[in-house]
């Protein structure tokens, strides 16, 4: 193999690596936006033995209702639309109207410490992927 051919082969290998790196980068960005909605925001306000409450808004579409799911101690415990009366969210100009709250009835739990998480459900345009995004922070509470 002469030097010219060797040089061409090296160029091809470098070009191929760069093309694949760009492809992976493009796919990663596409995958991020297909599985994540950076405009979904909300807060998990409170959790106790009776209720888990908070609000969730899609800031890119503030008049739409967001579907949320409740997990207690990492186990699915229910889902609902965040469509309950929360005027404070509207007052803070996070939404177009007053109806973005959620309030889950807490399932029966044994005495001790528990942790709840609420996730917003995000569906990609084609509906082929549905992913969960954590709303606010996990909330710990104790049942006596």
């Amino acid at each position: 193999m002469d030097n010219k051919s060797r040089g061409r082969l090296v160029h091809l290998l470098i070009s191929k690596s760069m093309a694949e790196a760009l492809l992976i980068a493009a796919v990663s960005v596409g995958f991020y936006f297909a599985t994540t909605n950076p405009n979904l925001h909300g807060v998990l306000d409170n959790a106790d033995q009776s209720w888990v409450t908070g609000w969730a808004v899609d800031e890119a579409n503030p008049s739409a209702r967001v579907e949320v799911q409740l997990f207690v101690d990492d186990a699915f415990a229910g889902h609902m639309m965040a469509n309950q009366f929360r005027p404070d969210v509207h007052d803070q100009k996070r939404a177009d109207d007053n109806w973005h709250g959620f309030a889950f009835r807490t399932p029966e739990l044994s005495p001790g410490e528990h942790q709840v998480r609420v996730y917003a459900v995000h569906s990609n345009g084609a509906g082929t992927r549905r992913t969960l995004q954590l709303i606010g922070k996990p909330y710990k509470f104790i049942i006596q």
Partner: protein, 237 residues
């Protein structure tokens, strides 16, 4: 063992004699590049591409461009690569015994694990001849990449012998990760095919063997063991 008596082209002699260190590094880089393309397709694009699998064709196309251009730049002829018929019978003769042994072993393992042999399990909707023809085509593509590229580049690094056979088999098995039974089968098959290719380079014989052995494994081993021959991210689908 007619390697010495067979006519050898310049490319063939380069692969086994005076090779400068830079050539070895370049050959290693070529192998790594091919493997990375396959792994990108199997693990990243198959996962991220959603329902459309067309995107997987991009790294595979890049890999085959690399193979073609590399073979042209290295002056390898079709004969060097194994796309020839003169040594078909010799290659088949070398393959016959290992194929028979693997077939008997697969049948025994299948029976011991309670699986009933089913010759129509591979693609029940197609006649066996059609299955084997498709398997031959797919096998030819795989053997072309594996032997006429990986095996030959490995020979530039280490020359012919056990190390290159093991490396070729290991790479073939790696590309079937994480399917454990398929990895075992492809390691054994890859070693046999690499061994035979180094003695009688004939891709048509290897493709025929590839097709028949895939059919035998699918027909004899439990379906759950092979997991529909799924590999990469799709193994978990």
């Amino acid at each position: 063992m007619n390697v010495i008596t067979e006519p050898r082209s310049n490319a063939d002699s380069v692969a086994s004699s005076s090779v400068v260190p830079g050539d070895r590094a370049l050959a290693a880089w070529e192998i790594v590049s091919l493997v990375s393309s396959a792994l990108i397709g199997e693990w990243i694009l198959a996962a991220a591409g959603g329902r459309s699998k067309l995107i997987v064709a991009i790294p595979i196309t890049l890999a085959f461009v690399l193979i073609f251009v590399s073979q042209v730049l290295r002056g390898e002829s079709l004969r060097d690569l194994g796309l020839r018929f003169d040594n078909f019978a010799r290659a088949m003769k070398l393959l016959a015994l290992p194929m028979l042994v693997v077939a008997v072993l697969a049948l025994a393992v299948g029976l011991l694990s309670g699986a009933r042999p089913d010759l129509f399990r591979w693609h029940p909707e197609r006649p066996i001849a059609g299955q084997l023809a498709l398997g031959f085509g797919w096998g030819l593509i795989q053997q072309y990449a594996l032997q006429s590229f990986v095996n030959r580049r490995a020979q530039i690094i280490w020359q012919k012998g056990t190390r290159t056979v093991i490396l070729t088999a290991f790479i073939f098995a790696l590309l079937h990760f994480p399917n454990p039974w398929l990895m075992l089968a492809t390691f054994i098959g890859g070693a046999v095919w690499a061994f035979v290719y180094q003695r009688a380079p004939n891709l048509f014989a290897l493709a025929l063997s590839h097709s028949v052995m895939t059919w035998v494994l699918v027909s004899t081993l439990p379906t759950s063991a092979l997991n529909h021959l799924r590999i990469g991210f799709k193994y978990f689908a």
